[in-house]
Symmetry: C2
Subunit: 263 residues, 2 copies
């Protein structure tokens, strides 16, 4: 049988960094800034292109900066901060964003974010954050990254006339492998998981490992070219894909709790 997919083609893919985004501030129209950067880089969006945007600039535009001075840590946060050698106010923000502490030890605080993402510090970032008038700030993940991706997609499609995908990317660590790769935390207009489990191989045997995470692959390609410079270019475009008939959110990627192998 053929498991080929109308939305995919075995052709070359190109991932292109998009420099020139200005410093993003709360309330900025991120889609407009991305459009200007694309124009400045001479990139014209076409059908099937996937625009990848780093979580950090999405969060900044959405005003997800919190002044640590405004955070009052609970007794639980103070105790967890002591055990992990972290700022109690940061730990309070991590707890506020999470449903579960997965692992904690000195220097390490791995939690399950309310979005289902498992990672260090609930994705809260303190690098490349402007120091506000209130002193140190922390940047939370977007409140609903899939919704952020949908809004960006609508605006970028309206501006370009092209049928696009949008992926909001973050960097991700894994338990047994060193070094970060990309993760898709918000998606619109793409097939996130390519399910080939019903297929058969060329000898008629049922395919074993066939749920391909396309969204994380896009995020990883984008993160690679984004990370090439000190400035951390926060936008990249993947070209060469056919437009996807399927539109899935990144929330589909979260492994259901009942399938969690560590429970």
């Amino acid at each position: 049988m053929t498991v080929a997919d109308a939305g995919t083609t075995a052709s070359a893919l190109t991932v292109r960094p998009v420099p020139g985004l200005p410093m993003v501030r709360p309330g900025d129209d991120l889609a407009a800034l991305v459009e200007q950067a694309l124009a400045g880089a001479g990139i014209r969006l076409g059908d099937g292109d996937v625009v990848c945007v780093a979580q950090k600039v999405v969060s900044k535009a959405e005003g997800r900066l919190i002044a640590l001075a405004d955070v009052t840590p609970s007794a639980e946060a103070v105790e967890l901060a002591r055990r992990t050698d972290k700022d109690p106010r940061l730990v309070q923000l991590v707890l506020d964003e999470s449903t579960e502490v997965v692992r904690s030890k000195p220097g390490v605080l791995i939690v399950r974010h309310r979005l289902g993402l498992v990672g260090a510090n609930a994705g809260i970032d303190q690098s490349n954050i402007e120091h506000g008038d209130g002193g140190e700030q922390a940047l939370l993940l977007p409140r609903d990254p899939d919704a952020s991706a949908r809004r960006l997609r609508e605006a970028l499609q309206a501006g370009s006339g092209a049928r696009l995908g949008v992926v909001i990317t973050d960097s991700s660590n894994r338990p047994w492998r060193l070094g970060t790769i990309g993760a898709a935390i918000g998606c619109a207009g793409i097939r996130v998981l390519d399910d080939r489990r019903g297929g058969h191989d060329i000898y008629g045997r049922e395919l074993q490992v066939t749920l391909i995470n396309r969204a994380d692959a896009y995020a990883t390609m984008a993160t690679l070219v984004m990370g090439e410079t000190t400035e951390r270019i926060p936008v990249a475009v993947i070209q060469g894909l056919a437009p996807d008939a399927v539109d899935e959110p990144a929330s589909r990627i979260i492994r259901p709790l009942e399938e969690d192998l560590f429970k």
Copy 2:
């Protein structure tokens, strides 16, 4: 400070599937087959190109096929097979290839492979394997995938005159995210981990998450275009990278046991 790296540039990357590889058999000269496929696809290798080859064809060329009929399961394998609903002979092969069973339950057998890779069934594959005269066969990972990558690199460099990287790719699952991405299990001629932990962000704050796994990013890009067709094209080339001055093995990626967060 500048953390830019001579071996990297913020330019577009292209990943190109290389169709046309014939069915690979034990003893085949894989480098010669890859060269023929590249020529057939009209791809000329240049300095900095990274040739990605799926583990499956490397293992086949290296004769890592085992007839299940030749395997006598131990009492331990029989018991573990009962608990995981798997063939006791396959479980015996998994145990032979592993140093530790990480998790087991019905349908799931996650082990630490002797190479340090943590995953299902020690990477042993039963799909797209020809049924030999001895009946069902299983395909083990290459004995030393970094050595396989070095050999492939030497042969492909000799044939092309270009300064290349080689990555042997496998598909990889993660505990909390659905869908496979690529993993680099053998590398030659590339910087595997890009360590930016000594750098500072544009506000002078020390960078927090800055060990970028380039090798897994290459493997993920390659795996994405390899998986687009039923035939699972097992070769892809990444172009647009500057030649890397650093040559690291994939074994560097394995998180040291003493840093294992699940111990």
